[in-house]
Amino acid sequence: MIKLVAGALVAAVTLALPAVLDDSALAVYILLGLAAMVTVGVSLLMGYAGQVSLGQGAFYAVGAYTAALLALNGVPPIAGLVAAPVVAAVFALVIGVPLLRLRGHHLAFATLAMQLILLSLAGQLEFTGGDIGLQGIPQFGVGSFEFGSAAAYAYMTWAGLALVMLVTHNVITSRPGRALRALATSETAAASSGIPVGPYKLVVFALSAAFAGLAGGIYCFYTGYVAPGSFPVLISIQYIVMAVVGGLGTIWGAVVGAGAITLLVQGLDQLASLPGMPSYAPSVLSYAVYALVLIVVVLFLPHGLVPAIAGRLSRQRNDPPVETR
């Protein structure tokens, strides 16, 4: 009952916000939703399946470039938007075959390297527009209806996020989801329960890439412009910080984490662009704050915001849990 009311309230606020926000606030709202979409994938990959990726920004970029290139070549935007997650997932499947043989830190660095390689390729190749990138991407539209306002993109973003959350929820509470959660603890024991560990890791990697690719597709139509500079390595780190702050292995944690970090970074950007601040202030501040937030959360809220709040609520409602032994 409480869940139902809370859900309805969240939905109502989500739907009402685009109508009342001005364009600059809407931009933050859209970027927040896109970041949350990628972060849900990170939470699925890291929190549930136990695989690390420092390269989710690369899948975001693949989605954005895919949709942009298709749209610039006259393909209807809707087809580009569908292609964005599909191409990102296929790309993840291909690079995942060698990469997912690695574990832990090795996997993290390999995915990071993958993003660096991809960015430098995008900066060199002619068809991706080099360092300048791709400009003049048409507005999103279906048939004769064209998106004219930021509010339309906000609705599209949050509908996409709802879809991503629903898919993630459905997957983790099912046979394949339990298999993913099992292999996160012990690949040996999972395999001996009949789970094909390698293919399952590959599929969850591709699924998280598809979420990032969808976000990238929406991003390119919204901004009308993509370039290598839009997808720095910092963006991949940011998704991890968001997932950890919100609570790895919780779907709502990804959204709350994305919200908290996006708003924090916005605040810092305004602080850093005050008169008298040096030109490098924004990037220094954001790197420092990611580090600081991560350390504070790991020290004081090791399970993240959402589990900490949920734990406090359930402790107020029930007696303290009895130690079982």
Partner: protein, 251 residues
């Protein structure tokens, strides 16, 4: 049912298991014992597929399995209870047991994401069998608790329920009694005896000779990677080679 034929495995030039042959018949409880470092765990991993043999053949239910991945062997009907606690963290006791049904069901990512009929059908079947397995090992009352917070005895029982959920043809137990208190050990022995009475084929690898002697129809003794005795427990226990191996280790 299970035939191991001339299997060897070495690590850095030292044989952990050397030219081992043994077989387990349908409905039999076979115990593998041996002093520390005899190669019991290596042999176990060779049978389950977590290690590859350098030489030799392993067949199970008439299939050559020594080149098959662990999950394929599991799907043929090998279920394992590991020695180290291998319960899946972040999942409830029931969810852990449900994982055991993986090989017997087929709903994949698409069925799950779209909640297709296949998903609902499988979930019902998985839940029914998981609850039955929980009941069997006496964990029904613990079903909704986090699995990693269970005491070690119940974690072992949980692994057994997970293994039984897969409806195994052969149940492999790796040192199931280790780390258990006397009372937990008794409960486990009673459970294994019950399973034997049901006709389940069991391969028991055990350090505790008294525990395995009570349960096994036949004992295979390993020492320094080789089989030194194979026969009924009473015979094996008075075998001079076996006594020497154990006394040699004790001195």
């Amino acid at each position: 049912m299970l035939a191991v034929d001339g299997v060897s495995r070495s690590f850095g030039g030292v044989y952990a298991v050397r030219d081992v042959s043994l077989s387990v018949a349908d409905g039999e409880v076979c115990g593998i014992i041996g002093p520390n470092g005899a190669g019991k765990s290596t042999l176990f991993n060779l049978i389950t597929g977590h290690l590859a043999a350098d030489r030799g053949e392993i067949s199970f239910l008439g299939h050559r399995v020594d080149r098959l991945a662990p999950h394929r062997r599991a799907r043929l009907g090998m279920s394992i209870v590991f020695q180290a606690a291998r319960v899946f963290r972040g999942m409830t006791v029931r969810e852990n047991v449900m994982v055991g049904m993986h090989g017997r069901t087929g709903a994949g990512f698409v069925s799950a994401a779209l909640r297709l009929p296949r998903h609902h059908h499988d979930e019902r079947e998985i839940a029914t069998h998981a609850d039955a397995a929980l009941e069997r090992v006496g964990l029904t009352g613990w079903a909704d608790r986090p699995a990693d917070r269970l005491p070690i005895g119940q974690q072992r029982a949980l692994q057994l329920a997970r293994a039984l959920c897969a409806r195994p043809r052969l149940l492999l137990l790796d040192e199931p009694a280790s780390g258990l208190r006397a009372q937990e050990r008794e409960r486990l022995a009673a459970l294994v005896a019950e399973l034997r009475a049901d006709g389940l084929t069991i391969l028991l690898i055990e350090h505790d000779v008294a525990f395995v002697t009570r349960l096994a129809d036949r004992l295979v003794v390993l020492d320094l990677g080789q089989v030194i005795a194979d026969g009924p427990p009473a015979e094996v226990r008075s075998d001079p080679l076996v006594l020497a191996a154990y006394l040699g280790q004790a001195s």
